[in-house]
């Protein structure tokens, strides 16, 4: 039952998204502009800064992730569908998981555009350890979106939600950013520092477990009026 509700909520979000493609297109474009802004700021005399790729990648993920989170729930608010979701006879945590999966999938699609672009513009060796890189990206995205989904859902009713989301989200997701950047930077070294990257993946997974559990636990009292 739990998984079925989560699956249905995710499918609903993805169906809406596939039909309009609004959030995907705008978020992807925003992420690309972000990388370009960094390129203009950090590329000197045609050469990118050493070690800049990992940081730029994760800052772009964090910024575009915030945008996507805000937009996803703005759509729910606009159509009054979040209230309908909450009225549905379904477990609240299942709704949270459904929303989280939808946002994670969306962000992974955006990252699929972002990563090659960063690799191209900042000469990052993407193909050296593709699996570890994927593990870092997936676990980092789950951690970021796990906290983000909870706060974005709560902020739906708040007045200045556009400003408050990053204010709440960034201090809490700093460990994700640190682990993501350090882990990715370790992978981009020549030769790649596998041990270090593995340790950061482990930390990210641990973060994911703690924060998703905490979100599942607090989603119910938080979303009850």
């Amino acid at each position: 039952m739990f998984l079925r509700v989560a699956w249905l909520v995710m499918r609903k979000d993805l169906t809406v998204e596939v039909r309009s493609r609004e959030i995907l297109y705008t978020t992807a474009f925003f992420a690309v502009s972000c990388v370009l802004v960094f390129a203009f700021a950090l590329v000197k005399e045609g050469r990118p800064l050493e070690d800049a790729a990992a940081g730029i990648l994760w800052i772009s993920v964090a910024f575009s992730g915030t945008l996507a989170l805000g937009r996803t729930f703005e759509r729910e608010r606009h159509a009054e569908t979040l209230r309908a979701l909450m009225l549905a006879p379904a477990a609240r945590p299942a709704i949270y998981v459904g929303k989280l999966l939808g946002i994670v999938l969306l962000l992974l699609v955006v990252e699929a555009v972002l990563v090659p672009l960063v690799g191209l513009l900042f000469h990052a060796p993407l193909t050296a350890r593709p699996l570890t890189l994927a593990a870092l990206l997936v676990s980092g995205t789950v951690g970021f979106a796990g906290v983000g989904t909870l706060f974005a859902a709560m902020l739906v009713r708040a007045r200045s939600r556009d400003v408050l989301l990053p204010i709440l989200l960034y201090p809490i997701t700093i460990p994700v950013i640190i682990a993501g950047v350090r882990g990715t930077a370790a992978l981009f070294e020549t030769p790649p520092a596998d041990d270090l990257a593995g340790m950061w993946v482990a930390l990210l997974l641990f973060f994911d477990i703690v924060f998703v559990t905490l979100s599942l636990w607090t989603f119910e009292p938080l979303m009850t009026e």
């Binding site: 706060f151 709560m154 201090p171 350090r182 641990f206 703690v210 607090t218 009292p221």
Partner: protein, 219 residues
């Protein structure tokens, strides 16, 4: 509360007035000399900040799960104090660091996690102030998540080199420093307790006043 408060307030004032004289009598530290004396304010303020953060986190959890209004008032009071004492820590820290390490700031685990914790409580107050309806719950969730976050920040920054002294320094203080240090620590804790009680009571009065307004409106 009404009778005890003035007495304790006077005691706290006397303690703080006496503190500079007590600190002046301590022996100078071998390498840092007189600069080290900022320690008697820096560390007790940090202790008060962490205590405030802890109180805020626990009270927020109680408010979130048990709907305990008194816990919420305690949480606001503690969050404000965490910001105030945190500011003292974050001002005295760089002053000390500039003299003993030669730099204002180090990206060390303890320093970074203190800064982030302070930011979380600033965010708590911002949400509380500008969040509109339902901001109490939002900020309570932020405090709970902020508490859970501290070990992660600490671990993740700890991989970078650490130069900040650990807490093991405090129990191993030489005799001449131990007494004055605990004198300052007790003064800060007393001040913290007083401000917490006072601020929570102010919040209670506000809630009561709001209730009276609503009643008067209905009549």
């Amino acid at each position: 509360m009404n009778r005890v408060f003035p007495v304790l307030a006077i005691v706290a004032a006397v303690l703080f007035a006496a503190a500079p004289f007590v600190v002046a009598q301590t022996p100078n530290e071998a390498t840092m000399g007189v600069v080290q004396k900022i320690f008697y304010y820096h560390v007790p303020a940090a202790m008060a900040m962490f205590l405030a953060a802890f109180v805020c986190g626990i009270a927020s959890g109680m408010y979130l799960f048990k709907k305990n209004e008194a816990a919420d008032r305690l949480a606001v009071a503690a969050a404000e104090l965490a910001v105030v004492f945190g500011l003292i820590v974050l001002v005295t820290g760089p002053l000390w660091a500039r003299k003993s390490w030669g730099v204002w700031w180090q990206w060390d685990a303890r320093i970074t996690s203190t800064l982030l914790m302070w930011m979380i409580f600033v965010a708590y107050l911002l949400v509380r102030r500008f969040g509109g309806a339902g901001a109490e719950k939002l900020s309570a969730a932020l405090a709970v998540f902020g508490m859970a976050n501290v070990p992660f920040v600490y671990i993740s920054v700890n991989i970078w080199r650490t130069i900040h002294p650990t807490t093991a320094v405090v129990p191993k203080l030489p005799g001449g420093m131990k007494g004055p240090f605990w004198f300052c620590a007790v003064s800060f804790m007393l001040l913290f307790g007083l401000l917490l009680a006072l601020r929570a009571r102010l919040e209670l009065r506000r809630a009561e006043l709001d209730k009276l307004y609503l009643q008067a409106d209905e009549e």
